[in-house]
Symmetry: C2
Subunit: 247 residues, 2 copies
């Protein structure tokens, strides 16, 4: 028996999110199906992040246990041959039997992408939120700074999460504008349900001028979901990577 870790990338457009659900096509469900066929045993992977429907990933992390003789490093090649084009395993390796992608400290990096132009660019429609009104990226950047550090992020959490506490630490948030693309890149030790999308939705309102930058601090202090902006669309969100202290 060995435990194998996968670095998993996917285009979330055609999936009902990561987590296995009856009668729905999910990323974990499709990987389980192809891994089980490949290895000839029933495989159930456990993922680090249960991304929502339509959310993308470059580096989600998952593990599974197997009796296979195939070296762990080769599994990514064999599995990619079977998977649909919108899921690709970037890496596979063996980890210790008690290594789990969720129950340990990690640094997660998410990106939220906004395309800011008069009409959408069709080639970006599945991977960026389109906003036609001109956004002020400098004010968004200023507002984002209030979120850095350890805070109670209750204002940025949708109902339905299962966490015991709404305190999280954000290590950094960068807002960058290049041409008509604005990228919000956020790193933290963990994120509440819809947290990055609510932060993005609030920053968009600030970028439009609905609120001033300092409103972000008021929202944070209120600890009330109703104070923050809307949850921005799933298609703009991408889980970029997860880094572990005990790699």
């Amino acid at each position: 028996m060995k435990r194998v870790r996968l670095i998993v990338s996917y285009d979330g457009t055609n999936y009902c999110g990561w987590q296995v659900q009856d009668n729905e096509t999910t990323v974990a469900g499709v990987i389980n199906e192809h891994l089980s066929e490949l290895l000839g045993e029933e495989i159930k992977i456990a993922g680090a992040s249960r991304t929502d429907s339509g959310v993308h990933a470059l580096g989600n992390v998952a593990v599974f246990d197997t009796e296979t003789q195939i070296p762990a490093e080769k599994i990514c090649f064999a599995l990619n041959q079977r998977l649909p084009e919108d899921i690709r395993i970037q890496e596979s390796d063996e980890v210790s039997a008690d290594w789990h992608p969720r129950f340990q400290d990690s640094k997660k990096t998410y990106e939220y992408t906004i395309i800011n132009r008069r009409f959408p660019d069709p080639t970006k429609r599945l991977y960026a939120h389109w906003e036609y009104g001109e956004l002020d990226a400098e004010t968004m950047k200023e507002a984002a700074e209030y979120l850095v550090g350890e805070h109670d992020f209750a204002s940025f959490c949708s109902a339905g999460g299962q966490q015991e506490t709404t305190i999280r630490e954000i290590y950094s948030i960068n807002v960058e504008k290049e041409g008509d693309i604005i990228t919000i890149r956020v790193q933290g030790n963990g994120f509440l349900y819809n947290m990055v999308r609510i932060i993005a939705g609030t920053l968009i309102e600030i970028g439009k001028g609905t609120y001033e930058a300092s409103k972000m601090k008021e929202i944070l202090d209120a600890k009330d979901r109703n104070e923050a902006g809307p949850t921005a669309r799933a298609n703009g969100l991408k889980l970029v990577k997860i880094e572990y202290e005990n790699a």
Copy 2:
């Protein structure tokens, strides 16, 4: 009667190219259908560039004649309401009755995008050519320089083009690497059939080390399609913009 110009963007993935063909879904065909419905008269647009199946555009240019009373500037809004999500009109305006997007001098800008990493990124699979072997962007840049200027580009032209001469002028080619993305951006007064894709395919071979940079000059001088590299995949190509002296 007035002549209206459209700036047309599309995701070419699901189209058999620009040009109307019987029994095939094409970009011009779909626009003709929706424009005709919108304006209540039969419309046939004429495009600047007949992009191939799978090729994308941010700024292709087209014109049509119409009897409509709708101001030309409003047509983009009304048409975008009807078009599928993978086609968007960026702008519409009235031009003089003899203005044509093909039969006059213009500067065209194309981009060819390569993603260079061990396994594909699923969110880029429709908009970038994936290459797993490490490419040397500096050598590609050096090789590209040989193509700048007025030359006979017969080595970079697939059979099936309808041009009278294979002489064209390339104003600039830039090869830029950012992370795992290499972008080849080329500007010229016109391009032969598959010319940008053959240039990209040749630069990829040079980037892999199959040829040295100076081989590009030999290929150009040979005026023989068999000397150049393969035609790179359509999905990496995007027509970015077309600029006219007589706008």
